[in-house]
């Protein structure tokens, strides 16, 4: 229980509009997009200035209150599931784009700015901010940085990390820390921004982000290639890259997902196909045409049974509609959706797809797999009903096995969805005891009272 007096303290800092103490309001901040038990926080506050944010952090620290920062709450790993006695700090009152600099190609934003709105504002100035997580219509840039979010364009353009030039954040005591700069080059001190990216709110509370922008590609071309064998699709991926072509996107849909999308959207997809690859190349028009032709030839060489190249903007939209519909189509089949994120070196995709199929069969589960083939970042999507306890136990075993297989192939637990609470207990399996100890020592040094999003990533420090 957070005392009345303390609630009043918070109200003094952020105003009474900015404090939600009613149970029903608090309960709406008990979850995120991970399939986990909700936890109702003790208090929710919404600062609207950096000054308020700093004082909120300080107040939490002084009173030893666990603090969980929350952007849009769309992370898939429990990163915003709070502690029952904790304070949820909302960033959606800090949502200003402070600067878009078209000469020096950077932007400065507050953490609550919505990813897609930012990307659109940048595009309106003729520039490009590539990271495009599937949740971009609602996700915040602060959440993207704190999760190091990826998206469809990772292969060519990288992930959020590759665009963070600098950060300002508050440490556990609410003091301002500055790292990085508005310059391309900066070696002033430790690279603290790198430490904060992907830290899921456990090392500091970000209040300002300097993001790199790039010129928008002049031209793009999309195509769909159909394969009778998964190995044909992944050999194609390898061959495209071996030919020194780096497509902007290279997305994969397995047979189950193809059938689900077709049943849902009747887009005319080949339901017999083992796999689809959706490929987009972009850049200078001449180069794009040349690369598109090469990619087409490679697809044919590797046994694509058909290839459709989008000639118009509408055709291009149609190509991507199938990919965009993937999650919706799968989600509609069963009540509970577990979106996994195990990632392998890209040459191991056929092995990983086969492993997932085998695991699904053995545990009598429905799993559709789609994802970013170019990055080896697949999303095996388990469809279940969490109320069915027996099946849920099989789901948990299957997740466990998916991790083991991905690790055995030299892969990783999570390509982009983060560790949070959901995968914290698996950390040691991929790394070492010492790695975790090292991380915990950093955490203890920076946050001695363990108030910053405790329990996430490294368990209880």
């Amino acid at each position: 229980m957070i005392s009345k007096a303390l609630i009043q303290e918070f109200q003094k800092v952020v105003g009474s509009d900015g404090v939600f103490a009613d149970e029903a309001d608090r309960a709406a901040y008990s979850y995120d997009a991970a399939v986990l038990e909700p936890v109702v926080p003790g208090l929710v506050v919404r600062p609207t200035t950096a000054e308020m944010l700093s004082r909120v952090v300080r107040l939490c620290n002084e009173n030893r209150l666990p603090l969980t920062v929350r952007g849009a709450g769309t992370n898939l790993s429990g990163g915003t599931v709070p502690r029952p006695d904790g304070v949820v700090v909302l960033t959606n009152g800090l949502n200003r784009i402070l600067e878009i600099n078209t000469e020096d190609l950077y932007a400065v934003v507050e953490p609550g700015v919505i990813t897609a709105k930012f990307a659109a504002a940048v595009e309106a100035r003729g520039l490009f901010y590539p990271p495009d997580p599937g949740s971009q219509a609602v996700s915040t840039l602060g959440g993207n940085v704190a999760e190091n979010a990826g998206g469809l364009r990772g292969l060519k353009y990288g992930v959020t990390r590759d665009y963070v030039m600098g950060l300002e954040f508050f440490d556990a005591e609410g003091n301002l820390v500055k790292t990085g700069a508005r310059t391309v080059k900066c070696v002033t001190g430790y690279n603290l921004a790198a430490l904060l990216v992907g830290s899921e709110g456990t090392l500091g509370v970000i209040h300002k982000i300097i993001l790199k922008l790039i010129p928008a590609p002049q031209h793009r071309k999309s195509m769909v290639a159909v394969f009778d064998r998964v190995s044909g699709a992944s050999e194609t991926v390898a061959a495209i890259i071996a030919n020194r072509i780096v497509p902007a996107t290279l997305e994969f849909l397995d047979n189950f997902t193809i059938r689900a999308v077709e049943a849902y959207s009747k887009a005319g997809l080949p339901v017999e196909a083992a796999a689809l690859l959706l490929i987009e190349v972009d850049g200078h028009p001449g180069q794009v045409e040349e690369e598109a032709a090469k990619v087409e030839a490679i697809c044919r060489e590797r046994g694509a049974s058909s290839i459709q190249v989008a000639r118009t903007a509408q055709e291009r939209d149609k190509v991507w509609e199938a990919r965009r519909a993937a999650l919706s189509a799968l989600a509609k089949l069963k009540p509970t959706v577990v979106l996994e994120d195990a990632t392998v070196p890209r040459s191991r995709i056929p092995d990983m797809v086969a492993a997932v199929e085998e695991i699904a069969r053995r545990h009598h589960l429905t799993i559709g797999t789609f994802g970013h083939a170019g990055d080896g970042n697949l999303h095996p999507t388990i469809l279940t009903d969490r109320r069915d306890e027996k099946e849920w136990q099989r789901v948990e075993r299957a997740i466990d096995e998916i991790f083991d297989r991905a690790l055995a192939m030299g892969g990783t637990l999570s390509g982009e969805h983060g560790i949070g609470l959901a995968k914290a207990s698996f950390m040691e399996r991929e790394t070492t005891r010492a790695t975790l100890d090292y991380a915990r020592r950093i955490k203890r040094a920076l946050d001695p009272n363990n108030i910053l999003n405790p329990g996430k990533i490294i368990g209880d420090a």
């Binding site: 029903a24 901040y29 109702v40 009540p335 959706v337």
Partner: protein, 433 residues
């Protein structure tokens, strides 16, 4: 009074539908209320989580949940955009019914709903009285819009620029009709709806003109009742069912081929809400409700889809009047009707359609939502007003009288000289009678 356990049991019946929400949060992008407040309890995901928490007895505050559940426009933007296909509106209406059952209606609401809506004749009489007396209470505010703002009774009307009640409701002008089908061979019952009857009778006039022009025989029974949505959204199932049963009597399905309305809210209610809230009634009543519900059709969709009205092949003159179109949520999101009203405007040579930014962003009225949460409703409405103003047209059209009220109010408050018309009025004016 029901115990918390009983309440939990009732709410648990919703569980099959609730569990479909995967908490992805994508509804944040489209919820007009969340856009205004940024509070998670205002977006579908938050409300669904609260209902689930209540059903699992995670916390014990049914009144708090009920209050937040009523902070909702029931616009369906969330459902239309939901990757998981959560039937958000069904859930909200059922939950409102359950929670209202638990708490009992507030005495004021009981009186208003049971006494007025539930009894069409009394309702009509009260509204007619209102029409006679309103001149004493209001003064003209904005001449283009013909709205009036409250001089007295400010506590009731707030700062709203109300579109006045028509001097004579439509049913007094034309109580009933029963015509044989003309050239089209179709006979259509016309469901007038309260707002068109009492505030916009010109829309009913235009609708009938259009139907007759296309050789449709009109069946217009007298003593029609409200479609029931105000009662359903307050969770007052008793009044709701009484109204629906009354309409079942007034509209015997074997007398016509289709049931046409020019009110998006009425069409959506008849098609989507009636069958859902009659689920647990006996099969006999349910079948009758379903039979009538399936015949219900929006007038634009009927003209374009059924009668094949098509845009004018000659593009409009440059100097044709520029009009923009606002998508009522109940047409676009609940019924998927958005191309048809535009087709009718394109089939009207006197006008040129200019799209506004985000034509499908909710106007913010949400029926009784606007009564209970006027500031929120007005906030959402101002965003709509800005979109309309930015389109630079002198006329904004739409397909729902409820949206027309909100557009009137917001444009008038902003001092705009933009007139608000129903798309069918524009189309009707372009027909040579």
């Amino acid at each position: 009074m029901a115990t918390i356990q009983e309440l939990a049991r009732l709410v648990r019946e919703l569980e099959d539908q609730l569990v479909v929400c995967m908490r992805c949060g994508m509804c944040q992008a489209v919820c007009p209320l969340y856009g205004e407040t940024g509070r998670e309890a205002d977006v579908a995901r938050g409300k669904l989580a609260l209902l689930e928490g209540l059903s699992r007895e995670m916390f014990r505050d049914p009144a708090g949940v009920s209050e937040r559940l009523h902070r909702c426009l029931l616009c369906g933007s969330c459902a239309a955009n939901c990757p998981s296909g959560v039937k958000v509106l069904d859930i909200f209406l059922k939950a409102r019914a359950i929670l209202a059952g638990y708490q009992g209606l507030s005495p004021v609401k009981k009186a208003v709903l049971r006494g007025m809506l539930g009894n069409p004749e009394i309702f009509d009489r009260v509204m007619e009285w209102g029409a006679r007396f309103q001149k004493i209470f209001t003064r003209p505010a904005n001449e283009t819009l013909g709205t009036s703002c409250a001089r007295f009774g400010a506590s009731l009307l707030g700062n709203r620029h109300i579109k006045p009640l028509a001097p004579k409701p439509f049913h007094a002008e034309l109580p009933s009709l029963d015509e044989a089908p003309g050239a089209s061979g179709v006979k259509a019952a016309f469901f007038v709806g309260c707002l068109i009857d009492k505030i916009f009778p010109s829309v009913a006039r235009a609708s009938l003109k259009v139907l007759r022009h296309h050789g449709v025989g009109v069946y217009l029974p007298d003593n029609q009742a409200c479609c029931g949505i105000p009662a359903a959204s307050s969770g007052d199932l008793e009044t709701f069912k009484k109204l629906v049963r009354h309409n079942l009597e007034r509209f015997p399905v074997d007398r016509f081929d289709v049931l046409i309305t020019s009110c998006a809210t009425c069409t959506a209610t008849i098609r989507k809400v009636w069958p859902v809230l009659f689920q647990e009634e006996g099969p006999e009543v349910l079948e009758r409700v379903q039979a009538l519900s399936e015949k219900a059709m929006d007038i634009h969709a009927f003209l374009v889809g059924r009668l094949g009205v098509a845009p004018d092949p000659v593009p409009p003159e440059k100097d044709a009047l520029a009009v923009t179109y606002h998508d009522p949520c109940h047409l676009r999101k609940s019924l998927g009707v958005f191309a048809e009203p535009r087709r009718l405007l394109q089939a009207s040579p006197s006008v040129r359609l200019v799209e506004m930014a985000q034509p499908d962003w909710c106007c913010g009225l949400g029926g009784s939502f606007s009564l209970e949460h006027y500031d929120l409703s007005a906030g959402i409405g101002r965003r709509k007003r800005d979109q309309v103003a930015a389109a630079g047209c002198r006329v904004v059209t739409t397909g729902c009288p409820a949206c027309m009220i909100q557009l009137h109010d917001q444009l008038s408050q902003a001092g705009d000289t933009v007139t608000v018309r129903h798309a069918i009025e524009i189309y009707a004016e372009n027909l040579n009678s």
